[in-house]
Symmetry: C2
Subunit: 664 residues, 2 copies
Amino acid sequence: MADNPLVVFTPSGRRGRFALGTPLLTAARQLGVDIDSVCGGRALCGRCQVVVGEGSYPKHGIESRPDHVGGETEVERRLRARNRKFAADRRLSCQAVIRGDLVIDVPADSQVHKQVVRKRAEARRIELDPIVTLHYVEVDQPDMHDPAGHFERLKRALAREWGLGDLTADLQVLQSLHEALTKGEFKVTVAVRGGARLLHVEPGFHDQLFGLAIDVGSTTIAAHLCNLQTGDVVAAAGAMNPQIRFGEDLMSRVSYVMMNPGGDKELTRVVRAAIQSLAEETAREAGVALSDILEIVLVGNPIMHHLILGIDPTPLGGAPFPLATDGAVDLWASELDLRLNRDTRAYVLPCIAGHVGADAAGVVLSESPHQSDELMLVVDVGTNAEIVLGNKHKVLACSSPTGPAFEGAQISAGQRAAPGAIERIRIDRATLEPRFKVIGCDVWSDEPGFNGHVTGICGSGIIEAIAEMYLSGIINQDGVVDGAFAERSPRVIADGRTFSYVVHEGEPRLVITQNDVRQIQLAKAALYAGARLLMDQMGVNTVDRIVLAGAFGSHIDVMYAMVLGMIPDCDLAKVSAAGNAAGTGARIALLNKAARAEIETVVHRIEKVETAIEPRFQEHFVGAMALPHKTAPYPNLAKAVTLPAPKAATGPSGEAAQRRRRRG
Amino acid sequence: MADNPLVVFTPSGRRGRFALGTPLLTAARQLGVDIDSVCGGRALCGRCQVVVGEGSYPKHGIESRPDHVGGETEVERRLRARNRKFAADRRLSCQAVIRGDLVIDVPADSQVHKQVVRKRAEARRIELDPIVTLHYVEVDQPDMHDPAGHFERLKRALAREWGLGDLTADLQVLQSLHEALTKGEFKVTVAVRGGARLLHVEPGFHDQLFGLAIDVGSTTIAAHLCNLQTGDVVAAAGAMNPQIRFGEDLMSRVSYVMMNPGGDKELTRVVRAAIQSLAEETAREAGVALSDILEIVLVGNPIMHHLILGIDPTPLGGAPFPLATDGAVDLWASELDLRLNRDTRAYVLPCIAGHVGADAAGVVLSESPHQSDELMLVVDVGTNAEIVLGNKHKVLACSSPTGPAFEGAQISAGQRAAPGAIERIRIDRATLEPRFKVIGCDVWSDEPGFNGHVTGICGSGIIEAIAEMYLSGIINQDGVVDGAFAERSPRVIADGRTFSYVVHEGEPRLVITQNDVRQIQLAKAALYAGARLLMDQMGVNTVDRIVLAGAFGSHIDVMYAMVLGMIPDCDLAKVSAAGNAAGTGARIALLNKAARAEIETVVHRIEKVETAIEPRFQEHFVGAMALPHKTAPYPNLAKAVTLPAPKAATGPSGEAAQRRRRRG
């Protein structure tokens, strides 16, 4: 008898000889080749598609031909008719049987552990391996000779067909079993969580499994609905955090709770309702049934974390800021009043410390300083900046109270990033005339077609305006608006005892005041001081790479952030924006179960630095008030842009006048 | 320097030398001596009492004297003043320090793993080792330098002081942590479940821990409230199962559900409400706060099991009687709508098969045939008799549809066991005159002082009446009431076409009719046939020991049960009544966590025999209609009582007359 045919699977390279007539899926499983399947080889799910190699493969010493697998079966014909993803050159590995030597390619979309595509080249790869998995199974019917319960017969079938070990089931699943089993004629699709818990049972074959990643910020809530079988984001939506009506920033919300007993329940109620709305909105947009969302992952700062969980955040309002827990929390979505599937679970990422929350843990998961060879500084810019510094040997974290200036609050012309907001500014070094770009208009203000709709200045616009004022000499290194320029340009005007710069004449008139500059200086000094404190702790004076995270961080020009001295000097090619990294971290934990264990371990390794009790923080803060810094060198920045020489204000400034008056 | 003093602990015999000044509790722990403590050695709980030996101990070669431990401390004096259990000869081992050689006796009540007293000498011993344990702990206060959350600091303290590993906590506990910790000034008492779950947190020192064992029968519900720190039953109560208004027996309740969609919800609601009432009643009686009941254990037949859990029992109404699960169920008491402590957990024993429920599992746990050297037959007599036969090598189980006759239903003069019910009967062999005993009166009916309050005949009275009628010859082996006796005694009277025996003349007049005899014959034949089927399966003709379980089983005279042939022949000295063994099994699972794992394993080992599809059941049933049996020998019974020789009815009986008529 001749040898059994040789079958080689690519890209894994696994190979073996199999008896004629063996289904390809069986061969693949015996070799440990990663091929997806929900239906367990019953040609229902169409996931186990492979491409049969055609031609001679000298490397393997065989010739592979399409007729070396059996002909197309009736179920494949039917599936091809209704499933356009089932291309002509593909076969279902559960249907195709071995008839001769074969080279079989398993395309990426047929692998269980697919790589999820990320836009940024440097970002960590995500392997699709969600905590919830679907398994179609045919259960033994109950029998007088077999006293096993429905649950035990279901477990037996799952062990037999899927190799799943002893599962647990909660009461609600036990309550639903008889109906699901009889409705599906003892064929059901089960969702299993963590390989250990029978999470949900659907009658018959059911191939829909989704998850929701939620980033609850103080200002906005972002939701990403993901297909847990492909890793794709099928819908995304954002909403204002409705808690804003109880207080713009976190501390005012905690104050609200302190002043209004039971107010935490109200804050909890509205934020949960907003999450429910986002779930419904994304599900509607993607045409997904809410009941097919079986897993959600949440991140948020410590106060959001507590409020979502229904834990009174009051203790976080004052030193020593004790968290109820810094560990990850795993619970029913229904415990958060979310009405998805009755069996939906929720996972909340761990916090790092009382001021460094699950959102920072999400940022760490997304940017992975703990896996980096280079020393990375990751800054999540918000009302509280969360700052992480580290590499694979050591990771430090702190938070720094930047205040809301970067978001346009407490700035005279400040507004949120919305149509009409100035987001880019350039000031002519000679004439001091500004030109700018406005959200909602593609051209600059001095270009043809500019629509003239200007309503205010958003955070990135303010950063650029003040950096450009500095580069133009309008403000000096100490941030003083130089009154001498009032004589050179109508853009610099006296404004009470200080001077302002007029960005936009018209309705409304938009100016950058001395106070605006001070607010940004305070914010950026806090940010820098936090980062610097971590660098001290790490014993370094420079970092290899900087990532700016947060919605705001992804809109600012990193060069201007450095001109202001928000961040330490660094090769500008190695400073990048990561967007909503906290939300990305939530998505990673949604798509890959090992990422949960990873972040739970990593947060314990992270050394927390408490800025509030660190005397050097004040020192660093004072030094960092200057632009970009009083003493720290910025050699990389100097290569990219000409920084003004340090100088005192040449003309009168309101502040100087005040000082003179006090002396007099 | 002289040797350190030698300390010997009794009864364990563990010994060691310790430095002067070592507290006895520390010494005991180092030696692994089993001494109870909730407060961890802070003289709060008073549980670690020991008796200091006085005198010479040649066996140990030392002299032990009370002054070899330090003098009574202030805290001991205070405790002695308020705790009468702290006798004069006792010391707290956490306070007494080693000053010289010592023999220290650890009294039974100071041991963690106390033996719980059971009344029956042959019953298995219960070692107190409940799944929930209390631990007083002092938690590190939150600190700016220590970012750990409350939960993590609490876990750290529990690991440090109690050696507890990584615990989980549910959301509700996390929500309560800050308040409990601050209220208790970071001293709390925690309840830990299974050594793995932080179940509940109380501020300060809190030494109250109770559990509830519930046996839900079709007719009655029995509750035992237990102190989980002593094993004592502190209160017991019973109530009618309020589901009775939806149907007397199980099948009529299932029919109700089938006929009334949603009716299962109503049955679930009323049985849960009854359990809640019993919890409240027992707690009130014992002066226990409901919130100190942190664990409950439930048993019940499969239909009660499903209804308690809120699972539709309809499938159990017809073949193949599939259970939703035959495994144990562990859940929140609140999922059963029980309002005890928010953190109370419930455990439901596993079922054995669709007709052999968690009550039978409780009986197995209580009577432990699986640990027996002798072959034991355990019969739980009820509307469905559950029958277990086995020894440590093999255990078989079945259920048999006896119907409600044994409980007095379908019997003309039948009533429940209540004051006025005849429970014992003797018939004079010569005069055929009866004498009886009535519940609520201590003397027999022919004795001075009999109160004459007679209302009916309860189950045990019916058993004895029919057995005595047989022993007196009034009925023959086939159960026919012999009309010939009507000529000898006014007690035997024609009653339509058959004859009856008058037990009580008066108001009401109580008779045993031919139909009553037939009902008991049907019931006892079913019981015997089930037992016999298991004996066939086991390949035996006799058993070594018989246990009658169930409220009814504990009231009947085992000799009469054997005269009727309810059970096979056996040495009467080895036939005993176990009372509510199902409830006892629930109590064992409440008091000893290992018993849960044990019964979960044992039920899987039990071979189930389905009487409904076993052809030999019918054969055995027919043979067992005769008294005590048509063919099976009863040598042990014959030694105890003179059985009548088999004979046909000598006079006319209604049945015989009927047969004659048909022939004619």
